[in-house]
């Protein structure tokens, strides 16, 4: 790899970490705003989405620049292509944080709450997947990427449990439907975050060994 490309990739990886950290914080704050009933926190996440969108564009432009200027091949090419795709996943995760925050605002507006719905565990599991997938990308860690893909089942199961609980609750108390539907959307968003982390991990596997493992199950 030429020194020029090496230097540029180092800068790009740093930006990735920054984006990842912002997205992670947003998801955590979005979930926190739900159980704290904190409308300001929810609004903060909504407002920050613009920054994430801008960072996504910046990283995409950087990747295109590296492709155009340095004609990377082999691992360098796979790395940049993976970064381009992972970048979109991170931006989508940011959108899901906004979605959770909007549900949070809605719940606060309803002036109702059901404390039996606690998304902290699900949120942490999904975020651990996101973080591990990015670490796997930076460290070229195949095992970590594979572990992320396996962890998706846990988040899926937590979502299924929430779904089951909501079904029962709606039957028992149909007038709670509006509140419960917000919880369902939150759970679905966290489950989708796990899916995006899985996508990232799959791209990392491609980046490391050149194998496309999507759609194999």
């Amino acid at each position: 790899m030429s020194k020029y490309l090496q230097n540029e990739l180092t800068k790009l990886k740093k930006k990735f970490y920054e984006l990842c950290a912002i997205v992670e914080e947003d998801v955590r704050n979005a979930v926190k705003s739900v159980y704290e009933g904190n409308v300001n926190l929810a609004q903060k996440v909504i407002d920050k989405d613009r920054q994430i969108d801008m960072m996504e564009i910046e990283i995409e432009e950087d990747c295109l620049k590296l492709l155009a200027l340095y004609q990377p091949v082999a691992i360098d090419l796979r790395l940049i292509i993976s970064m381009l795709k992972i970048n979109s996943d991170l931006e989508r995760i940011g959108d899901l944080a906004v979605n959770i925050s909007e549900r949070s605002v809605k719940i606060i507006g309803l002036n109702r709450k059901d404390d039996s719905f606690d998304f902290t565990d699900m949120c942490e599991k999904a975020l651990r997947m996101v973080k591990d997938s990015i670490d796997a990308m930076i460290d070229f860690d195949l095992k970590k990427a594979e572990a992320v893909i396996e962890a998706d089942d846990e988040v899926d199961k937590l979502h299924e449990a929430v779904f089951g609980k909501i079904k029962t609750a709606v039957k028992k108390s149909p007038d709670s439907f509006e509140l419960l539907s917000q919880y369902l959307t939150i759970s679905r968003s966290l489950e989708r975050i796990g899916d995006h982390a899985t996508n990232i991990a799959e791209d990392v596997v491609y980046m490391i060994n050149g194998t496309i493992i999507r759609h194999q199950t």
Binding site: Y4, L5, K65, A68
Partner: protein, 260 residues
């Protein structure tokens, strides 16, 4: 990618409506171009497009070409390069040149090759010459390879080393601008990489203009790119812009290999 405005950079060299004539025929026509300080600017274009002709006009190399003359303006730090009162030797000290083929004096020692420019203007102070020799060879990333054989002839070095020796010689007179005319076209890939890395290091200290046939090289090493075609400057912009989204159709056709 395009957030930084071009005009925020300091201009080191500037041409205004510069035309180089060979007899009645223009080699390049009405070129107005700003060269930014401590940046690498690449001139690209197909053979015969005028990029080398234009480069040579920037340090009055055409003074030596029979039948050639230059009209328009060429300025370094606002000073007219073609001011008849100015000694071209002074200009060439400010604006050094590295050629396509390495140009060491083959029988002269490595040491004497480096300090040749200083000796030419009468500098004989041994301590000063030693310092300049070491500094220039270090700048040209050649010092470690030759420091124990400075008395060996320049011609004993490999092609890549000879080209770095030529660069060291150009740097010895502390130029403000370094013109490089296809500096790697006669070198092997490894030496080419070494010179390209060197260009990246040198731009911290000098303004560099490189003429290259190799578009990939231009994209790798330069901050700005000027595309020439049949004597005209078709487009000049940041290298990133030129290689991702050029404004001119001709530029796009050239860099995508549709002609040239």
């Amino acid at each position: 990618m395009t957030t930084e405005k071009i005009n925020e950079q300091k201009i080191r060299l500037q041409t205004k409506d510069l035309t180089v004539w060979y007899g009645q025929t223009p080699g390049v026509k009405d070129i107005s171009l700003d060269i930014y300080d401590k940046k690498v600017t690449a001139f690209i274009g197909p053979s015969g497009c005028g990029k080398t002709t234009f480069l040579r006009a920037l340090n009055r190399m055409h003074d030596l070409t029979r039948g050639a003359r230059v009209t328009g303006k060429a300025l370094i730090d606002g000073q007219d390069i073609y001011d008849p009162k100015l000694d071209p030797v002074i200009i060439r000290r400010k604006i050094g040149m590295v050629f396509q083929k390495p140009t060491p004096f083959p029988t002269m020692s490595i040491y004497d090759n480096v300090v040749a420019g200083l000796k030419l203007v009468g500098i004989r102070d041994r301590k000063l010459l030693d310092e300049v020799c070491e500094r220039s060879l270090k700048q040209a990333a050649l010092w470690e390879e030759v420091k124990d054989r400075l008395k060996s002839p320049g011609g004993s070095l490999s092609g890549g080393q000879q080209q770095r020796l030529s660069i060291a010689r150009a740097l010895a007179v502390e130029p403000e601008v370094l013109l490089m005319d296809e500096p790697t076209s006669s070198l092997d890939p490894q030496s080419t990489t070494r010179i390209e890395e060197l260009i990246g290091e040198l731009k911290e200290q000098v303004t560099i203009i490189i003429v290259t046939h190799n578009m990939q090289q231009a994209s790798r090493v330069s901050d700005y790119t000027a595309f020439f075609y049949i004597g005209d400057l078709i487009e000049f912009d940041k290298t990133t812009k030129i290689f991702t989204n050029p404004d001119q159709k001709r530029t796009e056709e050239y860099i995508t290999g549709q002609f040239g």
